[in-house]
């Protein structure tokens, strides 16, 4: 069977091509390493200091990343590490508050700020001191606290105000907390403000030995002075080290011990960028797989390069490396958050894309067809790229849970089941494309069609089981937590609609209304139901009890992506139909 698809290309030529491709991929991996921003020794030391912020103790680095994102809407600013950016804000509040860092994208505000915008950005100083802007922001804030419905303009205004507010909090030294209260761990930690002022020192001396307090405060002011002079100097490094030592000495003096393991894990998680690595591995495996396909015409059969069997495994090697690092990243995030991380859009995309790969591994184990992992790698690459590319909309921050979600068992069982089903359907979406393209572009390969459609059917079955079970478990949780099994909440309704969509496709096949080609098209289209339940309810409908996951934004992109996908699908359908007329006699499909 293999030999019949072999192209008449010389063996060593293929090897050269393949090895050069391998080298190119390796080079790309190196240059796209996540440590590409300039990171100084000083900021390395400061990054590790534990701080308390928004209900969680975390390394300063995590706090800095969240803050830079919250103020500038970007992950990095000025090409510096987030830790450095934020320490510069603390050290030189008046200089940095004059810098244009707050994005003002909303048109009416661009007029309001007019000349003070630089590159579409305003400085915190200007935002906080523009009376016309602040008066209206105050009014919007009052209305918000009375739970009135806000207009788009009011929402955008509060957003900009929030950017500036976060900056002011940091620059004034009110966040983050550096020193816990030894008497009561529930109280907010004391921020740097307290160390800078004499009164704060005196108050601290109530709780800590006075000489330790003085030493810590002195090292803090020393650090600030050095940072102002030169951030990267050796003196700065020494000052940073001294501040870190004195701060932990202060905590030690009252026997406060923080879980260093979690803090180290979080540092590791921040440094590693596991999900960025995962998609690169996946993409590499897809590209290598595609390259191998150039040498063989078969879409589904086992061996990609007959003759060079030793290199056959390379795409799979990359695939499994991606799978492993993806899982490891997920594990780290679990440890840091102390819960299964599936409570916001970012986390669910990470999890769902992992589920896609997981199911493909299971199907691969059963059917031994490499096309399955290659398909899932493509889907996972796409999903992870999306997750990593829109930090403002998807919020990669690890945040505490709202009360209703604080029941780990139900949260895990219900949400993980539902999202696993999304994973199975995402795989079915990918395989559906495979079936459609296979029918359209190689209509004579009936064996391939038969195999592919069987994988598709299995993926659909897994999805249906999990979505049905997950929806029911959601009902169990809702009954337990809200007191009703089913309440037509948009999230649960859309989960049901998605399930009904797949059932309609399957029953359409049972009834003979859909051909296998039509079923594949149907399972791609039915994924729209999943998208709506997953993304649309939170970002389009934004109503109902599941409001803890709500955000906004990204709709034009999602709509464009969906339309593009449907256009490609439509193109394939047209090709398939025209070919069918041409060829006429190939056996398999019934009419769509």
């Amino acid at each position: 069977m293999k030999k019949s698809y072999q192209k008449p290309v010389a063996r060593n030529q293929r090897a050269v091509l393949f090895i050069s491709l391998f080298l190119v991929t390796g080079y790309w991996f190196l240059v796209s390493s996540p440590f590409s921003y300039a990171s100084s020794k000083t900021s390395d030391i400061l990054a590790a200091i534990p701080v308390q912020h928004e209900g969680r103790v975390k390394p300063f680095e995590s706090f800095a990343r969240e803050s830079v994102l919250a103020v500038t809407g970007k992950e990095t600013y000025d090409g510096r590490s987030a830790t450095e950016v934020v320490w510069r804000w603390i050290a030189e509040p008046s200089v940095s508050s004059g810098r244009p860092m707050i994005p003002v994208a909303y048109k009416p505000f661009q007029r309001e700020f007019s000349l003070s915008l630089i590159g579409g950005r305003a400085s915190p100083e200007i935002v906080l001191n523009l009376p016309a802007f602040m008066d209206k922001a105050q009014a919007a804030f009052d209305r918000q606290s009375k739970k009135e419905m806000l207009s788009m303009e009011e929402k955008k205004r509060l957003e900009i105000y929030h950017h500036a507010f976060v900056f002011r909090e940091i620059a004034s030294g009110s966040v983050p907390g550096f020193i816990p209260n030894p008497e009561d761990p529930r109280i907010a930690w004391m921020p740097s403000q307290g160390m800078a002022a004499e009164e704060g020192e005196k108050a601290l001396a109530q709780y800590f030995p006075v000489e330790k307090v003085t030493a810590a405060a002195r090292s803090y002011s020393g650090l600030i002075q050095e940072l102002r002079k030169n951030f990267d100097s050796e003196a700065s490094q020494r000052a940073a080290e001294s501040f870190r030592t004195h701060l932990s000495g202060l905590l030690d003096s009252r026997g406060i011990s923080l879980d260093q393991k979690v803090l180290t894990t979080e540092r590791m998680y921040n440094r590693l960028h596991p999900f960025a690595w995962a998609w690169k591995f996946y993409l590499a495996s897809v590209l290598l797989g595609l390259a191998m396909l150039l040498f063989t015409k078969d879409f589904a059969r086992a061996s990609f390069i007959p003759g060079i069997r030793r290199l056959d495994f390379t795409p799979l090697l990359f695939f499994f490396a991606g799978f492993a690092i993806h899982f490891y990243g997920f594990y780290l995030r679990c440890v840091v958050a102390g819960r299964p991380p599936v409570t916001n859009m970012y986390e669910s995309i990470i999890w769902v894309s992992w589920a896609v790969v997981l199911f493909s591994v299971i199907l691969f184990a059963v059917y031994r067809a490499r096309l399955i992992p290659m398909t899932s790698a493509a889907v996972a690459t796409l999903a992870l790229l999306i997750a990593e590319s829109f930090p403002v909309v998807l919020a990669p921050t690890i945040a505490p849970l709202v009360p209703v979600l604080r029941s780990n068992l139900w949260l895990s069982v219900h949400v993980l089941t539902i999202t696993l089903s999304y994973g199975a359907f995402a795989l079915a979406w990918g395989l559906g494309h495979g079936v459609v393209f296979s029918f359209a572009f190689q209509p004579e390969k009936e064996e391939t069609h038969r195999a592919l459609s069987q994988y598709l059917y299995r993926a659909l079955q897994i999805g249906v089981i999990l979505l049905a079970a997950g929806t029911v478990l959601g009902g169990v949780w809702a009954n337990y937590s809200w007191g009703r099994f089913w309440g037509w909440d948009p999230k649960e309704t859309w989960a049901l609609i998605a399930l009904l969509g797949y059932l309609a496709v399957l029953h359409g096949r049972f009834a003979g209304w859909l051909s296998v080609f039509g079923t594949a098209v149907g399972s791609v289209v039915a994924f729209l139901g999943v998208l709506m339940a997953w993304y649309g309810v939170n970002f389009v409908l934004a109503q109902g009890l599941h409001s803890y996951g709500f955000g906004g934004g990204g709709l034009p992109y999602v709509a464009a992506a969906v339309l593009a996908d449907l256009a490609v699908l439509g193109g394939a359908v047209v090709v398939y139909r025209s070919r069918k007329h041409e060829v006429g006699n190939f056996s398999s499909p019934k009419i769509i």
């Binding site: 009375k146 109530q206 089981i465 296998v516």
Partner: protein, 616 residues
Amino acid sequence: MIRQSEHFPTESACLLQNAEAAPRQRLPRRAAYAVFKFFASVKLAVIVLLTLMVVLAAGTFVESYHGTDAARILIYQSPWFALVLVILGMNLAAAALDRLPWQKKHSGFVITHLGIILILVGSLMTQRMMIDGQMVIAEGETASKIALAGAPLLYLFSEDLNRDWLFELKKEPFAWHGRRQIGKEPLPFSLHLIADYPKARMTEEIEACADGPAAIQVSLHNSFVNEKRWLIENDPALGEIQVGPAKLKFAGELLKDTPAAAPAPDTGYLEFQFEKSRINIPLAANLKLPAKFTLNGTPYQATLERLLKHAVVQGAQLMEDKASAGDPPKNPAAELTLEGDGLRERHTVFAKFPDFPTLHGMKPSAAGVRIFYRLPDSSGPMAKSHELRFVRQAPSEENPSGLVYQIKTGEQIKNGNVRLSEEVSTGWMNLTFRADRFYPHAKIKKNFTPEPGLSTSENVFPAIKVELEKDGERREVWLREAAREKIKLGAGEFHLVYGQKQIPAGFRLELKDFRIENYPGTNNPASFESDVKLKDDAHGVVKETTISMNKPLAYRGFHIYQSGYSLQEGQPETSIFSVGRDPGVPVKYLGAIIVVGGIITMFYTRRFSLHSGKLP
């Protein structure tokens, strides 16, 4: 390859087919069989599935634009939606029966269909038999009735007839205007519904009338404040209001000029915030230490031991810093002891660090108190007792309205006659006031405007407008939910209440304590919970337990959940429980388990090939 026509098999097509299959059967039987086949068809299943999808999707969009209630009334609880579900149930049952006698390959499919039918039956039971309501209980209070959601009622009591009536109303999805008679049986009056706003915003307007208390509109102005406020003489709500640092009052009597005992400089005050009350203790400059204060309304008394101006810690002791002297104080602190009710706590309070816990080496106060040391310049409401008071006196020639104002600044009182549109300086923070309007007799007129169904504003309530007619006299009145209105009609008076239907719960529930726990260092609640005591008099049961999110109390089929809370200044903490009883749940659970089991069975037993479209 398609076996049948591409169109949906009409009933006649089925008839034809079946006619061949059973030519000798009589027409009614054949028709029944045809109907059965129609319901057993997979194609009907596809159509029902697609219909459901469209309807449900529409429902979520209705909800997104008009709110949950509108979607429920228009779609999920409508009879035609129930019809679609019934067709689905018949389809499921017929499809399963059509495959009789069942073989092994059918097992998954039959089990799944049975499960879905059970879920549908469970939903029907829920719709018919469910109790779904709320109990709102303030701390220390007991409730024994459940207010049912979605069952609006109009209660009417006639004083002269000494009779009352209850009318059930329909819930409207949108704001409704029209004229609809309420009550079918003959009544001694006629009652019509004129308007029904599921969400209405109430605005109050003061207007002059023939009798009633006097009212004055005052504008207050400085660089921070710019507002107009109405004051109504001796009114419980509008007789006295707080604006910024000052109290505004329209009272019946003049402020008495109490001779100040010691016009010494103000040294601030101590503020004790208990759970339900707030006590301020002014600290005179010549106060002799230690000084004892009783904290009225609490079992405690406080002894102020030391007041420090420039507190520093030396060793482990709080001392006056000898290096600093004079004013302004660098780190004012107060040391005091709280005693009473078997408790003795020593607090150190720093004026500049109000967020610091005041107890040394201990957990938060067992008395549940927070103590603050407020300095004279901090603008607490008691920082200085500022008051602007209006009093109506007998009209005189130079003051025809008879209205005078009094400005109290600390101990000093300044009097004057009120002239409309005249700016008067209060002497506090550049604040000036101006009397804009004065009505010797005024009343509050309430206006209602409909709000969109999505509105979550705190000032929005359900409201209806009814028209009551008796003996040829006709009155219209707006009724806000849960607010009693009184109208005079002819000789008699009517009391009206628009509210939720309430049913006896069969037990009493007392809220002993409500707590919120925040995430450390934030105001974001991590959890909230209520200590409750349930008493069932009929069964002689007393249960004490804690209800929290995700931890309901189950009692005799009822599930009592913590669904929310309400914290308002000056009012006790209030817990909102949702109370429900749903006999459909076990059936639905059973159905759900069967469905999942069925699909899993199908995974193993049903060797369906997507490619050939056949079961082998």
